[in-house]
């Protein structure tokens, strides 16, 4: 292996791939956080805050609940950091904590669904798929994006927590079946069947807007 700067053969360890470097960097942050270094934990939170918040938000359809639950999930993860063995990635582990916390919250909340949606970003109006969806010659072509957003969230809230979770993780956040299985602590077949059923349910609830 040659050193790019000098052109000489480097005698040290072979250069690691960026993914491995990121992983070892993350383990270092975890070790420091375990010793009470809150600065290191701050770095870890920054890495995953957006994805964790988004998952919880799509599950609850409520910004305030998502804010509270995301903070609590990170606090719980910090308190349980000593029990993190490194068998799975830290990302999967934190995700599992957040998902369990959210499902418990939703079970307690039951039928008291309070929707408090975030605004759509500027790019939504220029997304060709979405533009096509609302400008098609459908009975709903007078519908605007905000109304469509409300209908979609209402339909998602009709799904069970586990079905909503697979749709959120796969169709919205783009996680693989394997990652979802690790987060939900179930096998890939279960993930696939839940996803299939959830999509069918959503198509039925939103049939007026999909024609």
């Amino acid at each position: 292996m040659t050193d790019e700067a000098s052109g000489k053969a480097s005698e040290g360890k072979p250069s690691e791939s960026p993914a491995k470097t990121a992983q070892s960097d993350e383990m270092e942050l975890i070790h420091r956080a375990r010793r009470g270094d809150t600065g290191a934990y701050d770095d870890l939170v920054r890495r995953y805050q957006e994805r964790i918040y988004a998952t919880i938000y799509h599950m609850t359809s409520n910004h305030e609940d998502a804010n509270d639950l995301a903070q609590e999930a990170f606090i719980k993860a910090y308190q349980a950091l000593q029990s993190f063995k490194g068998g799975s990635s830290f990302y999967t582990w934190v995700y599992r904590i957040a998902v369990n916390k959210t499902i418990n919250f939703l079970k307690q909340r039951k039928n008291r669904v309070q929707i408090s949606l975030n605004d759509l970003d500027f790019n939504a109006e220029h997304d060709p798929d979405l533009v096509a969806l609302i400008s098609d010659n459908t009975p709903r072509r007078d519908l605007n994006l905000a109304e469509l957003q409300e209908k979609l969230n209402a339909a998602l809230q009709k799904l069970s927590e586990h079905h909503r979770l697979v749709v959120t993780l796969h169709d919205i956040q783009g996680l693989s079946h394997e990652e979802i299985a690790a987060i939900m602590d179930c096998n890939i077949g279960t993930v696939r069947s839940r996803l299939f059923y959830a999509r069918q349910q959503l198509q039925a609830y939103l049939s007026d807007y999909l024609k």
């Binding site: 701050d42 918040y53 804010n67 975030n118 759509l120 979405l130 969806l133 959120t168 919205i172």
Partner: protein, 157 residues
Amino acid sequence: MSNPPEEFEKLQKLLKLKRHEQPPPGYFNNFSSRVISRIEKLQISNDPWAKAPWVGRIFAVLESNPIAAGLFGISVCGLLISGIFYSQSKDAGEFSMNPAADDLADAGKPAADWSKSVKTDSTAPSVNPMFNTNVPGGIFGSLDKLSVQQVNFSPAN
């Protein structure tokens, strides 16, 4: 429940709308600092030394510095040993106050003095208010002030 594939494609496009839902601008700028401040508050509330931080600081120094911990241990042991020696020497001093002379003095005393010395103090106050005659204005206290007066008594006709 059978849905045509084009509906499934439209559903996928519709779900893309969710990705455009964003929290208020700047929301994530201080999200981590809010989490960290909550963690620190929890740590302070769970810390037994939170109300006496100087004790916590002493323990922190002792934990991190083995020499300081050793010196602290030696000084505590020294204080304990010196305390034991001091109390023993004090007890020994009290018992060595010429006991033979005391015995001789007691032998020469008359019996009356002895009886006086063992007489119980009748004026000791009782905790029972019924028998406590020393209480001024007690329930029998007014009997002392009774005086005999002559009364002219003539039977009625």
